[in-house]
Symmetry: C2
Subunit: 207 residues, 2 copies
DNA sequence: CTGAGCACTGAATCCGGATTCAAAGCTTTG
DNA sequence: CAAAGCTTTGAATCCGGATTCAGTGCTCAG
């Protein structure tokens, strides 16, 4: 079952690699990086521990790839939401916060893993990039908003970091694995609250 | 040199325990929790690895104690600053942010370890408490400020978390071990920026 | 002076994974 | 059908610390 003609072998190899990535991703989404041991990943594909190493340069690389692709996707979605959200700084920042917040609250465990779970240096480096992507989006929105005085004068870099921090910290209580799933009302209350907090902080004119 | 009369033995034991705590603390302040291995801690006291275990229930407990005492002290200092800072919400919040920020930027490595360094579950639990202490202080200030309309209506718990997040995230860039020491001007610029951000967010009336 | 009682010592051991690699399974080619 | 060339396998090995504990040193009461 595992071996086809050589013509198909390449495809097969890609499938297998992909399967490992998906397995790892599923494990992370379920139990965080901690749960994605090489053995667990292999198991989930009916593969052997050793074979993992013929597709990846070790666990860290594999998980980094999982992180990267998940992060890339998240950032893309948020960026799309921002782009499709009208031209005022308020609309764009609102889209950023709402989209980010709502998605985090839906894939709670995954979001927690990506944003907060203690992990080794390799993941930590990916995480830094990931957070920076959001900060960069925010910074751009703020800079533009500053240009035509939609916002109160301020350092856009600092403000964007602070926004990201405010959003993360307000969410983390709900994302922690041991905390209970928030009800729909709670979710909107939190996100609305954060949005308003950030709008005030940035001095968004008009509502 | 290590053994006195029994009358003094108790004191001696306390000294030794204390020495280990101090050694651990120094190591954390220098290289983070990661650097505070049992061997390193013991070394620094001319003690043996084994002896550590006659004073503590294992590394985690020892480090948790280090964390707790450092955290307790930090929180005390901040609380004192807040208390001694006049009665307006603005003054108090300003004191909270300034004190916390300035202290973090001075003991950068220690602050980073306590606020951000990835670590095991025991430290993580302590950290949660630590952060909550600050959030509680902030929440109290905000609640009071809300009562006599010094602040815009908002959920004080959420707002306080968001403030803590904004402050942390704005600082973390400067706290990371690999980032360079910020100049005095940079320090005040960051802290001033954060304070203003938070004041706006909370809707502090008057400046 | 002696041995009972503590505290100290650090080499040996344990632990939880990650990583390796010789052996074994398929497939294709000649 | 046999050999060559791949992938796969998973038990053995490695790794970085934490933890243990039999042996040793010191003090003091008797």
């Amino acid at each position: 079952m595992a071996y086809r003609q050589t013509a198909l072998t390449r495809k097969n190899a890609e499938d297998r690699r992909d399967g490992l990535l998906r397995a790892a991703r599923a494990l992370v989404a379920t139990g965080g990086f901690k749960a994605a041991t090489v053995a667990a990943i292999a198991d989930r594909c009916q593969a052997s521990v050793g074979s993992v190493y013929s597709y990846f340069d070790g666990r860290d690389r594999l998980l980094a790839e999982v992180f990267r692709s998940a992060a890339g996707h998240e950032v893309d979605v948020v960026r799309a939401a921002v782009t499709g959200a009208g031209h005022s700084a308020a609309e764009r920042l609102g889209a950023l916060i709402d989209t980010f917040g709502a998605r985090a609250l839906h894939g709670r465990r995954m979001a927690w893993a990506m944003l907060f779970e203690p992990a080794g240096p390799v993941i930590e480096a990916e995480r830094l990039d990931y957070r920076r992507s959001y900060t960069a989006i925010g910074e751009q929105i703020i800079s533009l908003g500053l240009a035509d005085r939609q916002l109160v004068p301020q350092d856009p870099g600092l403000a964007s970091s602070a926004v990201m921090g405010a959003v993360s910290e307000a969410l983390v209580g709900w994302l922690r694995p041991e905390s209970p799933e928030p009800s729909a009302e709670e979710q909107t209350r939190v996100i609305d609250g954060i949005r308003e907090f950030c709008f005030r902080a940035l001095g968004v004119r008009a509502a």
